[in-house]
């Protein structure tokens, strides 16, 4: 392994985004693409987490809302442009199987590479569900959460659809 690889292994590239007032970051390796909102099809009785499906290049992909598992209720700042909304197509593992999913983001910000040492565990005193988070780091505009997408989607797939 050369010097470059060693450095790469000690840092992680993330894409930051906002849901409501909260900043979140997703590993770039897990992100397949960012798309403008597409026509959505409602799935009756699918529950609040993923009530829709989309056609992403010929594949039927559920559209999920991370507000539900993370408990984000605040809609966020009013001055955010309406057309900033994006769908992020991600790869997750549900019970060990790979699956393509989409999540909504009110706004996508930037790609950042940070050293792994900057990522801290979520303090127990915070109200966030610790099972659904890998950690957090301090960004320029406050702290950024790292959701554990596979854990969230696996847990949500277990829920009865009526929930």
């Amino acid at each position: 392994m050369n010097v470059h690889d060693l450095n790469a292994a000690r840092s992680v590239t993330l894409v930051t985004m906002s849901i409501g007032p909260q900043m979140l970051a997703i590993p770039a390796t897990q992100l397949r693409e960012i798309i403008d909102p597409l026509p959505m099809t409602r799935v009756p009785g699918a529950g609040a987490f993923a009530p829709w499906v989309l056609n992403v290049r010929g594949t039927v992909v559920p559209l999920a809302d991370l507000r539900i598992p993370l408990g984000i209720t605040d809609p966020g700042p009013d001055d955010r442009p309406e057309d900033a909304r994006r769908f992020m197509v991600i790869e997750v593992e549900i019970d060990g199987d790979k699956a393509t999913m989409a999540i909504t983001a009110d706004m996508v910000h930037e790609v950042v590479t940070i050293p792994l040492t900057r990522i801290e565990p979520v303090p127990a005193t915070m109200h966030w569900p610790a099972d659904y988070l890998r950690g957090l780091f301090k960004g320029s505009d406050g702290f950024v959460l790292l959701p554990d997408l596979s854990a969230i989607f696996s847990a949500m797939a277990q829920r009865p659809s009526a929930a």
Partner: protein
């Protein structure tokens, strides 16, 4: 080792094991069939060869011993006995473990091998005539060292032959003085890099039989000759061998210095034979005509074809609107091509039922031994093809049905004798195409089902009331109800009451149907009706509150207008009178929690699944379309009454409605309605 290669090997191994297992099972019923013995031997040899090539040396060593035992069978020295088959099957079961590197602490493998050796070390007096020829060759093993010369022919190198592996195998046989023969090496200009211009000479110890050399070259495109070097003066007479009486009429006198398998006595001259074993040649040709493709690639192809079908529909629509004759003609051509491509892609996904049958044979064999119920398992139409998804999902239900047939259906031999039947029972698995469906039938000649017993059980379990009037076939379908089990004793194998309802659910999930018929005392027949493919279906597109849903056309019976007096839900449940039959109907607006007010004119689509019918109320019928079925993700697998999704011509997604679930909802409504009325 590279992962690709390893997975190719594993794929190949799976097929080989299947073939090996089938061979062993067939051999059980036809022990005299020399062709089968050869097939088993060939499979073993291939497993050994490719195992060694991929570095599974333990596997290769194990198979080698297994193969040696079967070599004795092949040469007719050992008869095929049930014990041998049983050991062969247990040895076969060890192979996956050897590949995965599973340890064998109890020494099971060694035990099998030594048992095999014991079993095959005793010789029979006279080999069966069918295998006499190879036996004779072995018998003729000369006492002097023999000289082997071989040369790879044709495009052997380009096709992947590895002379060093052949040499290694020969070294294992004890080859010495190996030298290269460069006499046919061309000038540099004439050198063909894909051809092997080098030949080899070597000495083999006298103990090496011609059969062993044949095995080395079984899959190599090679010409070779084996000659006994420096014949002994005493060799003018008969070969000094116990099996001389078999050898005499077949083998050329040793004085000629040649051991040839050609059944000519006398004047065989030293010949160089272009040798491809008769069985290997067609096998090689077959391999060249078949390409192994990973399932994901087929799925990807099917996805693309699905998209193409979708886009083609859109193109046709646009062309029609444009009224441009050139564009319309092109669109028509695209339609035709897309159709052809779709058919070709669907054909590629078809897999014969045979791929499952080996497993079933094994299951029946095992159960028949465990339960002490001799069973003759007959398979008809194993070449019948189904979509691979259907085949995969069919395995478990069929295992359940077969298990039930032998565990519950079959009587013990005494019971059969008392009933005046043959002591050996028969279970028949048959498959055939019927229209757009495949019919799979499992028939047994066991004791059949007693409608009285089933009825009593159903009442006891609270599935029906004591007053319920049911026909015999309605009574039989009760066994598919959850929680129903008629086995007096819950055996290790079946009788837990979870089987048949799961079977029915799986079959309905495949958009199929299951029926059961039985004659008490005579036997039971379970019939599965399955669609040919799950990938693309004809769909009926409907609109409900601005949303579009697809109904499988094969389930649609008819479409009627919703009568004005039924616009509002009635208190005793929603029913329609369809030519004298009451059919429950469901309002999709309500079922799918749609907003808004229903239009004044609505349609009811009458759907059928199995014996049940249900109507669904929709706002509007849009039309029929080719529906490429996409599975719902795990996140939505519990969504009620939805079985999948499809992509429409405009790129949006429409959900496919799950008819069996709707029918059972309708049935629940019927029962609810009856209670309300009572």
């Amino acid at each position: 080792m590279n992962d690709d290669m390893a997975s190719i090997f594993r794929e190949e191994l799976r097929d080989l094991l299947e073939s090996l297992e089938r061979g062993l099972m067939d051999l059980k019923s036809r022990p005299e069939d020399a062709g089968l013995v050869n097939q088993v031997f060939r499979d073993l040899h291939t497993v050994k060869g490719s195992g060694a090539m991929f570095g599974f040396s333990d596997l290769a060593a194990f198979i080698h011993a297994f193969e040696t035992a079967f070599d004795r069978v092949r040469s007719g020295k050992v008869p095929v006995t049930p014990d041998l088959i049983r050991l062969g099957l247990s040895a076969r079961d060890e192979i996956p473990g050897l590949v995965d590197g599973t340890p064998d602490p109890e020494g099971r493998r060694d035990g099998i091998l030594s048992a095999l050796q014991v079993l095959t070390s005793g010789e029979v007096a006279a080999p069966p005539p069918a295998t006499a020829a190879p036996a004779a060759t072995e018998a003729a093993a000369p006492s002097a060292p023999s000289r082997l010369t071989f040369r790879l022919t044709g495009a052997a190198l380009a096709l992947g032959s590895r002379p060093e592996l052949l040499l290694n195998e020969l070294r294992e046989l004890g080859a010495q003085n190996i030298s290269a023969d460069l006499t046919r090496l061309p000038e540099l200009a004439g050198l063909d890099v894909d051809a092997c211009h080098v030949g080899w000479h070597m000495d083999l110890p006298p103990a090496v039989s011609r059969g062993q050399v044949e095995d080395v070259f079984m899959f190599a495109d090679a010409e070779w000759s084996l000659e006994t070097a420096a014949p002994e003066p005493s060799a003018s007479g008969l070969p000094a061998n116990d099996d001389a009486e078999d050898a005499a009429p077949v083998v050329a006198p040793q004085a000629e210095g040649v051991a040839s398998v050609a059944p000519v006595a006398g004047a065989a001259s030293p010949v160089v034979r272009r040798d491809a074993p008769p069985a290997a040649a067609p096998a090689a040709a077959e391999a060249a005509a078949t390409v192994r493709v990973p399932a994901e690639r087929l799925d990807a192809l099917m996805d693309s074809v699905g998209e193409l079908v979708t886009v083609e529909a859109r193109l046709t629509e646009l062309a029609r609107q444009s009224r441009d004759p050139a564009l319309m003609a092109t669109a028509e051509q695209v339609t035709r091509l897309a159709g052809r491509l779709r058919d070709a892609a669907m054909t590629m996904r078809m897999v014969p039922l045979r791929s499952l049958v080996a497993r079933f044979r094994r299951l029946i064999h095992g159960l028949s031994d465990t339960l002490g119920k001799p069973v003759n398992f007959v398979v008809i139409g194993e070449e019948t093809e189904l979509d691979k998804t259907v085949i995969e999902k069919l395995a478990d239900p069929l295992v359940h049905i077969l298990r039930n047939a032998i565990d519950h259906g079959m009587e013990l031999p005494e019971g059969r004798a008392a009933a005046g039947k043959e002591p050996e029972g028969t279970i028949e698995l048959s498959a055939a195409h019927a229209g757009g469906e495949v019919l799979i039938r499992v028939r047994d000649d066991g004791r059949g089902m007693n409608p009285e017993v089933i009825r009593a059980k159903a009442i006891e379990r609270g599935l029906i009331t004591a007053e319920a009037v049911l026909t015999e076939s309605q009574i039989f379908t009760l066994v598919f109800e959850p929680g129903f089990s008629t086995a007096e004793a819950v055996t290790e194998l079946s009788g837990r009451g979870v089987g048949m309802d799961v079977v029915r659910r799986t079959i309905e999930g495949l958009r199929g149907r299951i029926d059961i018929e039985s004659a008490f005392g005579k036997g039971t027949t379970v019939t599965l009706r399955l669609p040919l493919t799950l990938a693309i279906i004809e769909g009926l597109l409907v609109e409900v509150a601005g949303e579009r849903y697809t109904l499988p056309m094969s389930s649609v019976q008819e479409i009627v207008e919703l009568p004005a007096d039924k616009l509002k839900p009635s208190r005793s449940g929603d029913f329609l009178d369809i030519r004298g039959h009451f059919v429950p109907f469901l309002r999709l607006r309500g079922l799918f929690n749609c907003d808004g007010i229903a239009p004044s004119e609505q349609n009811v689509v009458i759907l059928q699944s199995g014996e049940g019918r249900v109507g669904v109320v929709v706002d509007r019928i849009i039309g029929t379309n080719q529906t490429v079925i996409k599975q719902m993700s795990k996140l939505h697998r519990r969504a009620r009454c939805i079985s999948g999704a499809t992509i429409l011509g405009d790129g949006s997604v429409a959900l496919i409605v799950d008819v069996p679930q709707l029918v059972s909802s309708g049935r629940a409504q019927t029962e609810g309605g009856k209670e309300a009325a009572a």
